[in-house]
Amino acid sequence: MLQVAYGANLAVAGVDARVAPGAIVGVIGPNGSGKSSLLKAIAGVLRPHSGEILLGGAPIREQATRIAFVPQREEVNWDFPVTARDVVMMGRYRALGWLRWPGKADRERADAALERLGLGGLGHRHISQFSGGQQQRIFLARALVQEPRLVLLDEPFTGIDVQNRAIFHELIRAFADDGVTVLVATHDLDEVRETTSHVLCLNRDMVAFGPTPTTFTPANLRATFGGQVAVFEQVPIFERAP
């Protein structure tokens, strides 16, 4: 049973979940439900108060180099003097190791990742010169070159337009197809329903966890969000194209 605490305050009171490789897990819950804390504990920023976090059966901290973290937009210093390519290249640092400098191969890799995310040829630009959605994609490109086993996304859909969402989904699915596990903390319930394979409902305690179709239910959502969310059954108006 995993518990995460700030001082004496338990932010995550109890989570017990087993996630298969290649799963896309939506971590949902109201503000202050411990979503961010859970992600930060998995990322190693917070130490669990009790319990353990395993990746492929071994303690996760021993495989830290293979964990990619995409921060919330608000947590990034957009004035920092780095270009898009510099940021993507940071994903290669751990693989490079100490006292080694990124070379031509790493630069080409970074450019290829930017290209794949629709930012080809813009790598030389300063990070403040991109739109919100593009900035998000720079960080996804960084996760991509890191060749992770686990990708952690903290509120990735904030202020993102439709086009960016499409690129986003494509990449998340590509990760999953490669057997990479993706954890998305979000309060965007539409996104969770459409993109995730599993849902972890959190409200300090784990309310529910399981495959999205069986877990993303009105009952579970009500239990997670209390009275804060209106749940409508989905009514098909048009048949969707396959």
């Binding site: 930060k40 990322a43 920092f80 780095v82 940071m90 990124p102 919100g132 593009q134 202020g159």
Partner: protein, 298 residues
Amino acid sequence: MSWLTEPLQYGFMQRAMMEVIIIGALCGLVGCFVVLRGLAFIGDALAHAVFPGVVLSYIAGQSIMIGAFVFGGMTALGIGILSRSRRVSEDSAIGVVFAAFFALGVVILSRQGGFNRDLGSLLFGNILGVSMDDVWITAVIGAIVAGILLALLKEFTLLAFDPTMARAAGYPVFALDVLLLLLVSATIVVSLQTVGNILILALIVTPPATARLLTDRLGRMMAASVLIASSCGVTGLYISYHAGTAAGATIVLTATAVFLLAVVFAPTHGLLSGYLQRRHGHHHAHHFHAAGEEVELS
């Protein structure tokens, strides 16, 4: 020409020039990370906290660097540990403890004779009094500090830009943080003789802040900061020689003047350029579109 060459006939000016070039380069380099990590306040605290060490070595007749290094090392470690615990309000704790350290240094010094004269040279530096040994010590320590910083540039950059990723990726974040504070501390210690405790922060913060206005690339910012700091040191020293003003303070004001110039005239981040961009805003938008680049508004 004699304006430039005349001071250099004196040995003390030659040594001061060498010292100020080395110190400028070092402060300019290390200062980039002080600015990017928002450590200006901590840097100031460090500069004050080493003062008792300076005073004790001075009274013992030793090089002031020895005591400063001991206190600087302890302080760096102390701040590192302090910033780890989330309970204490870091800022206040640092403020309380290191102002107290500074007062302690002043109290110790006031027990000695010749208080005022000594206090002046210890607080504001005495660059014209540096020996060739001092220059060598500064050069060696400076080379070590710069060497470590450049060797770990990748890691320090990542830590400054995205500490969460650095942690997630398993870097020894605490050790790197303390190491950076030790490098800042060492920089302050070797620079004390030039500008003293009170003004050292200006030499560490102003050149990088100026450089940041001139470029958006970290590598160029570091290079520009080193150049600006060293040339402001040399220029300030010349001005102080000819105008008969205090060397350390003149160097600081020279750096401040260059900073103000950059605030107004810097290519993209300057006030003037901002004004022109607003006036020609339409023209720029059109240009972007014509070049077929992706423009998104959000």
